[in-house]
């Protein structure tokens, strides 16, 4: 095993030397404990984690009066639905256009919240009160996000414990666990999506990170249970389910490997797989059971997976399809100009004007949901194979999870730009461990976060998003650079050039463009530019990560051989 990989200080169950696991594990806990003790007593820097967490929570409180999107109304509506109606009508109620389209656990969560909400303002619990947003309602909803983030904070602390203190320097600011805590707790995307735009991603990502941390700590069953629960809170996490499934099968159910690291079927533990199955079934039964009994499963599923929406969201998420659309559009324009295409025949192609859901391709073939599904599966497969045939312990699992998230982001149907967080947050864990991942992380976060800018389009929020983005970017760049001082520069000149060009792009989109005469004629230009430009960076990061994972596992295998 390479020293860099060992930085996680956990020897995976699937490693070539399973004996080591027992020998190292106690040491790990001991050292982990020592780290905490050092942090707690060391020279007045004690309690940095609570300070970081409290600091960001207070910042979230200051963000309460900011703009909130329609998602605010969505969640208010769900509060009303779950509070007033019997369970049997939750997935049928359609007074508001924002019908309940999250799995049952989330509905129960809203139901629980609604019992506190009534003390703030009972009016918000009236289903007919569409777009109701009194001050008490805003306060309650915002505070509910901030308080449920406690789970996220806890999960981050657990994740920090999984990161080794191997590089313990004198300076607290240069400890990987400190850097990781800041990168996760102060994550720009999470801040603006949850606390300005309004959503409950914080505690959901908390569940995910906690389950990842549990897998690192070799508490597999807990990890599996947490992930199963998470899936029944928000089904978007199904994208990373392959990583969980394969990892648990390969490194938990198969207790041993052959000497060359390949599969040893005789070590397959039926007890373990039964336990896993039992957990998953139990959680699913808790969640879906009532609806199966009521015979509402088809209705529930039709609500959860609305394929009637278009290939791309109103604002194209910066993925493969954004590039595809852009190429299509460019071809159409060129075609009309040079008379390859008949402008009469061409429909007025709908563009990202705002409310448009369906995008008609003019030159390239149109994309069906099934095609995107195939693309997604195909793009996920290599990473899953890699996890199966060349297991590298929890670290390999994390890489696979990130690749699953990124691949589905690249090729999924109707992907939201917010889904990039699904890759960014887990990648933070890797970024503080290895220079290679740190460079990747910088590209992916900067581009991914930049692509979230169009979420906030109101003037008062413009300085906030820029300041917060700068804050996070300056911190991530300088801290990771300091952390990997000895490894040379993290990015090459081209990557730096690409990222620097985001600055003029932002200036053009937010300042120059609104003042220019194109504003009325081509209002979608800033969005299109942002999404296409960011798509380039994200595609690049995706490919680079894929290449690095595939080649790295090859070298590991060679070493083993």
């Amino acid at each position: 095993m390479r020293p860099a990989t060992a930085a996680f200080r956990t020897v995976p169950a699937g490693s070539p030397l399973p004996v080591c696991a027992c020998a190292v594990a106690p040491q790990r806990f001991c050292q982990g404990g020592c780290d905490m003790a050092v942090a707690a007593t060391g020279g007045g820097s004690g309690g940095w984690f609570p300070a970081l967490a409290l600091g960001v929570s207070l910042l979230k409180c200051l963000l309460i009066p900011t703009y909130h999107s329609t998602d605010f109304e969505v969640h208010r509506n769900w509060l009303a639905i779950t509070h007033n109606l019997p369970v049997s009508q939750w997935y049928y109620e359609a007074t508001s256009e924002w019908t309940l389209d999250y799995p049952p656990f989330f509905a129960w969560f809203e139901c629980a919240l609604s019992h506190i909400a009534k003390y703030f303002d009972p009016e918000m619990l009236v289903i007919q009160n569409l777009n109701y947003a009194s001050y008490a309602t805003v306060l309650f909803q915002r505070l509910s996000v901030i308080l449920t983030d406690t789970l996220f904070i806890y999960a981050v602390r657990e994740c920090c414990r999984c990161v080794s203190g191997k590089r313990i320097g004198k300076d607290l600011l240069e400890k990987p666990m400190f850097v990781l805590a800041v990168l996760l707790l102060w994550n720009f995307g999470l801040l603006i999506v949850d606390h300005i735009h309004f959503q409950y991603n914080g505690f959901l990502f908390g569940l995910m990170l906690l389950s990842v941390a549990r897998l690192f700590q070799e508490r597999h069953l807990e990890g599996a249970a947490l992930f199963a629960v998470l899936l029944h809170f928000k089904h978007i996490y199904i994208y990373v389910a392959p990583a969980y499934g394969v990892y648990l099968l390969r490194s938990y159910c198969l207790t041993e490997n052959k000497a060359d690291g390949s599969l040893k079927w005789s070590s397959f533990s039926f007890l373990r797989i039964t336990l896993l199955g039992l957990i998953v079934c139990l959680v699913s039964a808790l969640s879906l059971g009532p609806f199966i009994v009521l015979g509402q499963l088809p209705q529930l599923i039709s609500r959860l997976f609305p394929f009637k929406r278009g290939l791309c969201h109103a604002y194209w998420a910066p993925n493969f399809w954004a590039l595809y659309n852009a190429v299509d559009k460019a071809l159409a324009v060129i075609g009309v100009k040079y008379k390859f295409l008949d402008p009469e025949k061409m429909q007025k192609a709908a563009m990202t004007g705002g409310l448009v859901q369906e995008f008609q391709h003019t030159v390239l073939p149109s994309v069906t949901p099934f095609a995107t599904l195939i693309c997604t599966v195909v793009s996920i497969l290599p990473s899953v194979f890699c996890l199966w045939f060349k297991p590298q312990g929890p670290r390999g699992f994390l890489q696979c999870l990130i690749l699953c998230a990124l691949s589905s982001f690249m090729f999924g149907w109707h992907v939201h730009e917010k889904a990039i967080l699904l890759a960014i947050l887990p990648l933070s864990l890797l970024s503080v461990q290895r220079a290679k991942d740190a460079g990747l992380y910088l590209i992916l976060t900067t581009t991914g976060h930049f692509s979230l800018f169009p979420l906030l389009f109101t003037a008062p929020e413009l300085p906030i998003k820029i300041l917060l983005m700068l804050l996070f970017t300056v911190y991530s760049f300088s801290s990771l650079r300091t952390l990997f001082r000895k490894n040379g520069p993290l990015l090459n000149w081209l990557e730096i050039l690409y990222l620097t060009a985001l600055v003029p792009l932002e200036i053009f989109c937010e300042i120059v463009f609104p003042l220019s005469p194109w504003k009325l004629k081509l209002p979608f230009i800033p969005l299109l530019l942002t999404s296409v430009y960011c798509a380039l960076g994200i595609t690049y990061a995706w490919l680079k990560l894929y290449v690095s994972v595939l080649t790295e596992s090859a070298t590991v295998r060679q070493k083993v051989e």
């Binding site: 007045g44 820097s45 004690g46 309690g47 940095w48 300070a51 409290l54 600091g55 207070l58 910042l59 409180c61 200051l62 963000l63 309460i64 009066p65 900011t66 300076d171 600011l173 240069e174 003037a459 008062p460 300085p463 906030i464 300041l467 917060l468 700068l470 804050l471 300056v474 911190y475 760049f477 300088s478 801290s479 300091t482």
Partner: protein, 507 residues
């Protein structure tokens, strides 16, 4: 991480908090007919843009001085004019003479907030950064944490970006003054301080330490030789700076006199609203305003102020040192705040600024003072609807101070810079041992008291007979704190022996 990344992060944090606070409500939002300070500033833009300069401070048919008449020195007026010129480009309705009275809209709010933000960014924040970078014998980390704490001081943020004022400009100039003086650029320092006074006359609270420090420096060089030259140079610079600021008003004597009458409006009474100073607190027991004639009030307040700042000034003149200068700034400003005539609750910011400057020397007491000063403005902040911002920024400030200075471990007599005092007086008293613990528990009691009072004032309705009950409680509690702080700062200043280790450290 290198120094500049850390500093950038500190500044960005400060800016973020400033802008989030500015999203909230402002003074007098939607409250006709008089509105509040926001409307005052807008009205000044209207007046300065539309009227010739010789009418700015006069009551005319176009300029009703009863409605937020200009009562700040010329630099404020020029600043208003500058803002008005920009406003004219964006939307002329914002500054239309007469027609724009009470104008409120989201874009206008954004514009006004942006003007404060930019002024802060251009004047105050660079001064703070420079000040912290020039702190001697401190590690990079300490410099940055000092900068962070100063930038996150909630009082200034809430008043400037919440309530709506431009204090950061005058305070920023004063800070530039301190910065220049500490680098021995006395002339530049004098100019910067003149700008501060000419932006807000309240900066006079700081004038005596500046004067005494420079005078003491001249004395030290000998009043016949170099010292005299320096004194003359400084005097000429100050006069020139004032003349530049007042040039447009120098056409006739009446102009200058009218401006001065506007600046020092004596007829406004001993104090306004509920201020955490001695007169307001005493008036709970004795109705001073009714018993004593205004003339006597003026004399009385003058006498008290003079007496309380005398020791600090004498000490500073005789032994001018940079450290003494900073402490004298604190104690003089605090004396003015507590005892002088016509004090606003916002004037406490003038005390807070120098306290911010010594936060790296006495983190515990400075943090305590800064918290109390913010708390003392609570009634005002509640009136403006800034409760949430008040809670958020205050707790954030406390968190940052605790994390970066670990204030709870710095409560010994030495950390509070009381060593020489305790040696000279209490050296033989045995109960000195638990001193740190006593101080710490006093701090906790005080914090709890402030927290409880904040909660009560925010949630409970006062009894009908005593509508001002909670504001008075807040004033009296803060005033008691301030009196103790005044004693403390004077003790530290007066018992500071010239050759002590600390003086070397900060000089």
């Amino acid at each position: 991480m290198d120094k500049w990344s850390l500093m950038t992060i500190a500044v960005l944090l400060g800016l973020t908090v400033r802008w989030t606070v500015s999203l909230g409500s402002y003074s007098g939002a939607g409250k006709p007919p008089m509105y509040g300070d926001y409307e005052a500033q807008r009205h000044w833009q209207e007046v300065t843009y539309n009227l010739p300069i010789n009418q700015w401070y006069f009551n005319t048919s176009d300029n009703n001085l009863q409605y937020w008449g200009l009562d700040y020195p010329p630099l404020t007026a020029y600043h208003s004019l500058l803002c008005a010129c920009i406003a004219k480009l964006i939307n002329p309705d914002w500054i239309g003479l007469h027609t724009s009275r009470g104008y409120e809209s989201q874009p206008h709010k954004l514009f006004m907030r942006a003007t404060v933000f930019i002024a802060d960014l251009l004047v105050y924040i660079p001064a703070v950064i420079m000040y912290c970078c020039y702190l001697k014998e401190t590690s990079t980390k300490k410099k940055v944490s000092t900068a962070l704490c100063v930038l996150l001081y909630p009082g200034l943020i809430l008043i400037d970006h919440g309530h709506f004022q431009y204090n950061s400009v005058s305070l920023g100039f004063a800070l530039w003054g301190v910065l220049f003086l500490s680098n021995n650029w006395d002339l530049l320092g004098s100019v910067a301080f003149c700008l501060a006074i000419n932006y807000k006359q309240m900066e006079l609270y700081h004038s005596l330490p500046f004067f005494c420090y420079l005078l003491g420096k001249c004395f030290k060089r000998g009043l016949t030789g170099k010292g005299l030259v320096l004194l003359i140079k400084i005097a000429v610079t100050v006069v020139a700076a004032f003349a530049m600021c007042w040039l447009p008003f120098c056409t006739e004597a009446e102009q200058i006199l009218q401006v001065l009458r506007r600046l020092f409006a004596i007829d406004r009474g001993l104090f306004e609203d509920k201020v955490a100073n001695i007169w307001c607190s005493l008036s709970v027991l004795i109705k001073i305003k009714n018993i004593i004639s205004p003339q006597t009030q003026l004399k009385l307040s003058f006498a008290f102020t003079f007496l309380s700042l005398l020791p600090a000034c004498i000490k500073l003149t005789l032994q001018p040192s940079l450290r003494g200068f900073k402490f004298a700034l604190v104690s003089c400003a605090l004396s003015f705040f507590l005892f002088s005539f016509q004090v606003h609750e916002k004037s406490v910011l003038l005390v807070s600024l120098p306290v911010c400057l010594i936060i790296n020397e006495i983190p515990f007491m400075a943090t305590w003072f800064l918290l109390v000063s913010t708390f003392s403005m609570l009634p005002l902040l509640l009136k403006d609807g800034l409760l949430l911002a008040y809670i958020g920024t205050t707790l954030a400030f406390l968190t940052v101070c605790t994390a970066s200075f670990s204030i709870f471990e710095k409560t010994s007599a030495e950390d509070l810079q009381l060593k020489s005092f305790s040696l000279s007086i209490w050296g033989y008293i045995p109960w000195l041992k638990p001193f740190p613990k006593i101080v710490k528990s006093l701090f906790l009691v005080s914090i709890t008291l402030m927290g409880v009072l904040s909660l009560i004032s925010a949630t409970l309705n006062p009894p009908q007979k005593l509508p001002d009950l909670f504001p008075i409680f807040v004033s009296v509690v803060s005033c008691l704190h301030f009196l103790i702080f005044l004693m403390y700062f004077n003790i530290v200043l007066l018992w500071d022996s010239r050759n002590s280790r600390n003086q070397k450290k900060t000089n």
